[in-house]
């Protein structure tokens, strides 16, 4: 039956696993925008990115990230029936391209959103945030 055998009036404390509370998780923030459509010149943009990273460092956020070469340099790889197929360019032609990414360590999506919203490219592009999947070891 569902009811367990303990039914005393005694107070008891239990150690309980609370999944994520206080646990840092990794979130990948993928920066999408139309290439060459920045709203400020390149140097200003780089400066704004540097400022964001300084702010994150000051706040003690663990993160890593990179900008990517333009999508014209991309190669798509598929392995089908043992044969490797390469395609010049991305798999799907879309207007907005992945231009870079950040990997944040945050406590929750809300915190990741807070940082992602400060990414300069969020002003004219969009940032897709996804939790990194964790596999049992």
């Amino acid at each position: 039956m569902i009811m367990n055998s303990r039914k005393s009036d005694v107070d008891y404390g239990v150690f309980i696993n609370i999944y994520y509370r206080g646990v840092f998780m990794q979130f990948l923030a993928m920066i999408y925008s139309t290439e060459d459509q920045d709203d400020v010149d390149f140097d200003t943009l780089i400066g704004q990115y540097a400022a964001l990273e300084a702010e994150m460092e000051a706040a003690g956020v663990t993160f890593s990230g990179n900008a990517l070469q333009p999508v014209s340099t991309a190669t798509s790889v598929r392995s089908r029936n043992g044969r490797v197929e390469l395609t010049d360019g991305p798999y799907a032609e879309t207007k907005e391209q992945l231009g870079g990414y950040y990997l944040f360590e945050c406590e929750s999506l809300d915190e990741a959103i807070r940082w992602a919203s400060k990414i300069p490219s969020a002003r004219y592009g969009s940032i897709e945030i996804r939790p990194v999947m964790e596999f049992e070891s």
């Binding site: 039914k7 107070d11 404390g13 999944y19 994520y20």
Partner: protein, 418 residues
């Protein structure tokens, strides 16, 4: 017979208290699914225990204590199992649980946190609405599915996906920080208003479910008002209360829709009107004007008029002007211009409404408003053509019938101009 009685009591207790119980459980375990499962198990347990031993003194507290125990057992088992398999990555915290059988006095009210999480902007609006009705109002998947005219499977999947998203993104069950509170509260209020508006379409059949939705929206708005009193939360409750005062007059016997203009005002619920106005004044006293308070004020002005002709249009137009500052949407402009037309400014209103054609060409009320204005201006042919277009656009058979009746009026009455 006794079993039936127990089941009915259990169902009533569940409907009235499940939101509060789930919210309290989630506050300690941060997992909606586990909380729901625990309450579900406790209900099964109650079905048997209450039949054997009679109803407990406080059935809600009984359910809460039983589900909390169940949750602790599940979490303890999980913790043991996962410590073995997943090593020591698990975060542990001590949860003091004081269980003296069914005597736990108060269920802590954590519903505000749960409402904010159910209406988290990372979820789609559909998911927000479904999750709110499921967890806070205790509606079943079937009831929600029926109310939103989707299949049980679709609604079930929507809920599972939403809960999964909350879990893997570690979205917390917390009232948002002060700097985010405004935007997040807006989402909560929109969800509640949407739930109410869904009930407002009383002419789609399914009237029973729809009445339930109205009551749930009022209940949710009251909870938010009590736990987070602000101008807009009170404004929303005032608005819904005033809308609700016209519920009986809004539908005819055949569940046909009756527009405000044609309603029998003696059927309005004057107690609710008084209550709505009082709420509105309290909201305005908070000195945080917003779109719900302004819409409630417009509704309150309508409720003061004994007849449609007596309506204080000047005040309504002024309130719409204010509302445009908060919500500069073409729909609000259309509503304001419609008020201008009713106040006698037909030509001016027509000109203004025609200027909205690009934005509102696919919006039924745009064409209906023009049909009515052309009728009042005495332009019979133009009015009829707008009505015909509206009827062709309209997908709701009852509203279609309503429009046909209005068009009939154009045919039979001689051209009038006011």
């Amino acid at each position: 017979m006794k079993a039936e009685f127990t089941q009915r009591e259990l169902a009533l207790t569940y409907r009235a208290n499940s939101g509060r119980i789930i919210a309290a459980l989630v506050a300690s375990c941060s997992d909606l699914q586990l909380a729901e499962d625990a309450l579900h198990d406790a209900c099964l347990q109650a079905g048997k225990a209450w039949m054997d031993n009679g109803l407990p003194n406080d059935p809600a507290a009984w359910l809460y204590v039983a589900s909390k125990r169940r949750l602790i057992d599940v979490l303890r088992a999980k913790s043991r199992k996962e410590r073995k398999s997943a090593g020591d990555t698990l975060f542990e915290m001590e949860m003091q649980v004081s269980v003296s059988d069914e005597e736990e006095l108060d269920i802590p009210d954590e519903r505000l946190s749960l409402i904010f999480t159910c209406c988290h902007p990372a979820l789609s609006r559909n998911a927000q609405v479904a999750l709110t009705l499921k967890t806070l109002c205790g509606l079943t998947v079937r009831e929600i599915a029926r109310a939103f005219l989707v299949s049980d499977t679709t609604m079930g999947q929507r809920l599972v996906r939403a809960k999964h998203k909350l879990r893997v993104n570690a979205i917390r069950y917390l009232v948002p920080k002060k700097e985010e509170l405004g935007a997040r509260l807006e989402a909560v209020l929109s969800v509640i208003y949407l739930i109410y508006n869904e009930s407002y379409s009383c002419y789609e059949g399914q009237s029973l479910t729809r009445d339930d939705l109205a009551n749930e929206a009022i209940r949710l708005a009251s909870i938010v008002c009590r736990l987070l009193p602000s101008g807009e939360s009170k404004g929303l409750l005032a608005l819904i209360t005033l809308h609700q005062s016209r519920r009986a007059a809004r539908c005819d016997d055949a569940m046909g829709f009756i527009a405000l203009e044609d309603q029998d005002r003696t059927q309005w619920d004057h107690q609710l009107i008084v209550k709505g106005r009082k709420l509105l004044l309290e909201a305005l006293a908070e000195d945080q004007l917003g779109k719900y308070q302004l819409q409630a004020a417009i509704s309150a002005v309508h409720s003061e008029a004994q007849t449609w002709a007596e309506t204080d249009w000047a005040q309504i137009i002024g309130l719409y002007r204010q509302l445009l500052l908060f919500d500069p949407s073409p729909v609000i402009r259309l509503n304001m211009l419609t008020a201008v037309a009713f106040s006698g400014g037909l030509a001016l209103a027509k000109q203004g409404i025609l200027a909205l054609k690009n934005d509102l060409d696919n919006y039924l009320p745009f064409h209906v408003a023009l049909a009515d204005i052309e009728y009042r201006l005495g332009n019979k042919a133009s009015s009829i053509s707008y009505y015909e277009h509206s009827i062709a656009m309209c997908r709701n058979s009852v509203e279609q019938a309503h429009l046909k009746r209005k068009m009939q009026r154009v045919y039979v009455t001689p051209a009038v101009s006011r």
